[in-house]
């Protein structure tokens, strides 16, 4: 789970070992061709297409014939309001869902690590939505959030006495509504990661804190928060990567609409692909690549540097 580990291979739970006298005998037991079966699939269907995208993004492309047109696709992307809006929406969606999952996941995990009744039941229930298909969740919430007949707005009208908003049909809140559904579906995974992180904190810390008469808030602020930092960075990175690339849920709830109000880059890529603008679609892919990498790479380094070891 920890993306953090890969960037520091030297420390990843591997004690330094003495250099063996006969290196070749060790190497023979671990042949490099073991990398090949997976490597071939990965290179052919992931790496090569990724590299090719940097060429095809600069072309007008019909899959059979490509004409080099320079930066035209990117110029079009950044001048069309519907397309540039998708960039802004992608960032909003990514940061809102990730932030909410960190905060709610942490709170739920603290609650579910405490000795309360029905803990097992509560853990299962929060994890439940993670298992359900995103399309199923999207379609269910589309109906629950129906502006006139939906259950949510009927409850809203009874409790607050006014008509509820058009969650998925009002352009100003559609994107945030979808983000809310995303959090509902994904917070269980964040909680699970946090529960594991909190369980890994040695008991002595809590006992020492109790002996010293620390309040619950102090325990949370001074022990749980810093010592579950690796869980925090895992949750932040995983949910941010997922959020910036998110497609399924947006496509099944709003289809990017109303208008372009909830279009993200991933849905623009699909729309342009459907319309047959393969070059433009690939330009969208390159932009998404740059956005995700430009955010995740420095962020993961920063999160790593902040880590407190146990």
């Amino acid at each position: 789970m920890t993306i953090t580990q890969t960037s520091r291979p030297g420390r990843a739970g591997r004690p330094t070992r003495p250099r063996r006298a006969s290196g070749s005998y060790v190497d023979k037991a671990y042949p490099l061709w073991f990398h090949l079966p997976g490597g071939i699939v990965f290179v052919t269907l992931f790496l090569v297409p990724t590299a090719l995208s940097f060429y095809f993004a600069f072309t007008r492309w019909t899959l059979f014939k490509s004409t080099f047109i320079g930066f035209d696709n990117f110029v079009l992307f950044f001048s069309e309001p519907g397309l540039i809006g998708s960039l802004r929406n992608t960032l909003i969606y990514g940061f809102v869902t990730s932030g909410a999952k960190v905060v709610l996941g942490m709170l739920l995990a603290v609650l579910l690590s405490a000795p309360i009744i029905a803990r097992g039941y509560l853990r299962s229930v929060t994890f439940f939505p993670v298992l359900v298909s995103t399309v199923g969740v999207g379609l269910t919430f589309q109906i629950l959030l129906d502006p006139f007949h939906g259950v949510v707005n009927q409850v809203w009208a009874v409790v607050l006495g006014i008509d509820g908003p058009g969650w998925l049909t009002d352009p100003s809140i559609a994107l945030l509504s979808v983000a809310g559904i995303d959090v509902w579906k994904g917070v269980g995974l964040a909680t699970l990661i946090y529960i594991a992180g909190i369980a890994a904190i040695p008991h002595e810390y809590f006992e020492a804190a109790r002996v010293d008469g620390a309040s619950s808030w102090q325990v949370f602020r001074r022990i749980i928060l810093p010592l579950s930092w690796s869980a925090t960075s895992t949750v932040i990175l995983l949910s941010l990567i997922g959020g910036l690339r998110s497609f399924d849920l947006i496509w099944t709830t709003t289809g990017g609409g109303p208008g372009f109000a909830s279009d993200v880059i991933a849905s623009v890529i699909y729309k342009q692909y459907q319309a047959g603008f393969y070059g433009l679609s690939t330009a969208g892919n390159v932009i998404l690549f740059i956005v995700v990498t430009a955010i995740i790479y420095p962020l993961s380094r920063w999160l790593n540097s902040k880590e407190t070891s146990l």
């Binding site: 060790v26 023979k28 090719l52 995208s53 095809f56 919430f141 109906i143 699970l192 995700v292």
Partner: protein, 278 residues
Amino acid sequence: MNAMRPATRWLVGLAGILLTTAVFLVPFAFILTMAAKDPVEAARLQFSWPANFQLWENVVSVFQARDYMLIIAFINSAILTVASVTLMVIFGSMIAFVLDRRRSRLNLLINTLVLAGLIIPPAVVPTIWVMQGLGLFKTLHGLILVEVAFGLSFTVLIMRAFVATIPREIDEAAIVDGAGPLRLFFRVIFPLLRSVIVTVVVVQSIFVFNDFQNPLYFLPGNQNATVQLTLFNFQSQAQTTYNLLFANILVITVPMLVMYIIFQRQIVAGMTSGAVKG
């Protein structure tokens, strides 16, 4: 974390039960009741107990719809999930094993690629172009390989952390006994990876089985639909048959739910030991 008075334990627990039930279980209860209603009642979209309870009839007609498309879709999804997850586990564990055990100049490259595979969004149309060139586009085995390519990074990452916890003395004993690399790996190491394999299998199965985007792009067409795409059968511009839509959602949720219930303990254990503590 154990300082909590009994009264507080009960209060907090009760509040948690009420809140999580309302937030997380009501939508599922909604799916269940909708799936059991007749078409007229379902069209009212209300959260109520069905007047005519006809869950079984609805499930049957969901399976019969469009010439048993859902059954074909279930077969497709089953093949897709089993094949791609099996390949991920075998290929991923082989890479993780050599990556952990052998110091090589390749390691930096492989670690970088693993990270890249985790972060970079796949380039859609170029992938289609490559698949077309190889005759893999619109084929089930093509989609299987795509899922393997996209899921491999995560598999290697989880597995490598686990392989690092297996003592090298075990390898050495096997080597001294004359085991070659294949015997060493598949007979000695692979069985020891059992708990992390369960974690990978469950996590990746959920991902592949519920995947919507990749089948949409790489396996279009009604004959080879996967279960996720069948959901759009009952939704049309003119009229949506809500009871059947929800019966369909229910039917395709059950397999992953059953798998999770069976492996629940092991997943949490696997995540705890292999992943976060690392």
